[in-house]
Point group: C2
Chain length 405, copies 2
């Protein structure tokens, strides 16, 4: 346990930060003092506010229905391709934006099941995010499949923890890239390879890492992925989620919510549903335009900053917070619940304390916003485009005062 760095050191780090200018690209007011919840809802980019103004006042108000053919129709695939290239290592034609992560995961689980009709099991860990667990249970019931639950090691699903349950019965395996509680990162390529060795499909949930921890879906030969855009991609509350289908599966994939926007020709309105040959086949209803342009702007910012630089700053910030917790909070009974190697975690650090809920409430009242997760976890999210070193230090300093009080 080393000595805690002082605040002047933070100011020096901020001054030397190659991403420093990006903080000014967001609308950031005086309150809160420290925002540790960009991993739940990212801050609004100024460019998004301006783009939304244009969409509302020029496209919607002036172009009206013509705006659909001017370009809105293509937003789900265009923004999907941009997100694919920038955030998840996907070549064009494999990513769309639509609906919510829950709806997209529902589609993907059914789609994967159609590709493995003779297999009977879905494997998922019991520490997975609730909506994933709920939907896997629901889809398994709908398709007459069995859920094979595994209890992963402390820091999430590993190849070793999966291997014993994979079998010729395994249809698919559903894994989160970053664990929502601890931020532990799973090995996408390694796990996908193992899943493929068993003849099964790998479905990745990238909600808790998209835009902050690089992933190369094409290179890993992932089969399906979903993820949300309102965390580190800063696309705003309830913005559309993304959905990835590996090109090699596209022709044979069928999704269950066959609505008009998934049809080959949306306005043919013919007697039967003819799925689009492209990734548009994964769409269902009318796209949410305001949400789509917000995703577009969020992804453009990540592209401009560079995911590698974002990742480097994220690791530096999580290391700083880890060091401060060790130095300041460990003596007060708080413990790091995230992996200690920067490469092994995403961009939040989780602190365990028996009074976590009360501490969280007091932190929020003091202008420091983390989030609480049952039963005893405080999550400190570090969003590299908007979190400064001084802001993180100040938040930990406040946290120390509260626990010590």
């Amino acid at each position: 346990m080393g000595e805690a760095p002082d605040r002047d050191e933070m100011l020096r780090l901020d001054k030397a930060d190659p991403l420093r200018e990006f903080r000014d690209r967001f609308a950031i007011g005086p309150d809160p003092l420290t925002y540790f919840d960009g991993n739940s809802l990212g801050r609004p980019p100024k460019a998004t506010l301006e783009r939304l103004r244009t969409v509302l006042e020029e496209e919607w108000a002036d172009r009206l229905i013509r705006a659909w053919t001017d370009g809105w129709m293509n937003l789900p695939t265009e923004v999907g391709d941009r997100l694919g290239a920038t955030v998840i290592g996907a070549a064009p034609g494999q990513t769309v934006l639509a609906d919510s992560t829950s709806v997209n995961l529902f589609k993907v689980l059914h789609a994967a099941a159609t590709l493995r009709p003779d297999r009977s099991e879905i494997v998922i860990d019991d520490a997975n995010f609730p909506t994933d667990r709920y939907l896997v249970s629901a889809v398994a019931e709908q398709r007459g499949l069995t859920v094979r639950w595994i209890t992963p090691p402390d820091f999430g699903v590993t190849a070793e923890s999966l291997e014993p349950v994979l079998s010729p019965d395994t249809a698919m395996v559903v894994v989160c890239h970053a664990d929502y509680r601890t931020a532990a990162l799973a090995d996408v390529a390694g796990i996908t390879g193992l899943v493929h060795d068993a003849g099964a499909l790998a479905v990745w949930d990238l909600c808790h890492s998209a835009g902050v921890a690089p992933v190369e879906l094409d290179a890993a030969r992932a089969d399906f992925a979903v993820g949300c855009t309102y965390k580190y991609l800063n696309a705003g509350p309830g913005a559309p989620a993304f959905l990835y289908v590996a090109a090699r599966h596209l022709a044979s994939v069928r999704q269950p919510i066959e609505g008009w926007f998934g049809a080959e020709d949306v306005f043919a309105m013919g007697p039967t549903y003819e799925p689009a040959t492209s990734m548009r086949r994964m769409l269902s209803g009318t796209p949410n335009v305001l949400g789509l342009v917000a995703v577009d702007e969020g992804v453009r910012l990540v592209a401009e900053a560079g995911l590698d630089r974002i990742r480097a700053k994220g690791m530096a910030l999580t290391s700083l917070v880890t060091d401060l917790v060790d130095a300041w909070l460990d003596p007060l009974g708080a413990r790091i619940a995230s992996p200690r190697e920067p490469e092994a975690r995403g961009s939040h650090v989780t602190v365990r304390h028996p009074e976590a809920r009360a501490i969280t409430d007091r932190l929020i009242a003091s202008g420091v916003i983390p989030d609480f997760r049952n039963p005893d976890l405080i999550r400190l999210g570090l969003s590299p485009l908007t979190t400064s070193y001084a802001e993180a230090w100040d938040g930990l300093h406040t946290l120390r005062g509260i626990i010590a009080a």
Copy 2:
């Protein structure tokens, strides 16, 4: 065929219009001259632009994650209840806003099927909107049901056209309140009663009438309904759709996309999915906040104007357009394809002409925006809150010039 009214008469009608002031409540620019497509994408209310500014710059930027507990969490049910009371005759606790019409219809079809497990048929007409037909086919296949197609009379589904196919095998009947091509209105109470006599459930699609033709779902004892908000409710491109479940079904209804926002306690994140006892059980993923507040403002405007006054003006406008088509266009080979009794149609008038597509293109180039529907239909939408009599007259005048040319 009477004499066509002149333009001065239009100016008198506009001056005497009790809804006249509402046109100023929308952002309306100089182009297009006539907007006949408010039945596809309504114009932006100024209050919506202002509300979105507040949500973006104050709630999202300043309150950040706290905005969810400040009030965002309740938007799907709060706005749902307001829409229920104002637009569809639904008491509180039966309406939510979520996803798209396609996703909502998918949920409702599955939910209805769970209530009639021993019945094998879904009845729908082959003139229904594409996404309805596609989804009925998909859900029937998913549940091992049979689709019983009917070909309705010219002006949509009637009790008489349904009666011969209803049987103890009928699980549900899916009907549009307003036909998307002709605007013909179906008799919601009469058809629902007939469907109930057969022991089946009535699923209503209100997309093409919501906000412009009153419907009393509770009084009609409808079972389920869905509908969109970006047409006469002016909530913007891809805004969330609504979903109605009659209170008497709620406790036994199960929907297929069991995501975290449908759980009784969203943040309990427990081991198994416990559906909310309220209408929240029909939700799945994180709600689209920008879309929800836009629906809220659109519904508030309808409430303020009064659906009865909106309906009265809508009938006057569709009558005017019908008269002008008869007087000016009938001699040029165009024919009314909508019902001739104002009470029997919604708020658009459809004109049939063999050159409909080319005429539509020329109209748009001339600053008059209708929409075209296969194979020979031009739809002229009249949105009572924003369409003036003079605007409608001008649009028809331009249309006459184009067909005569």
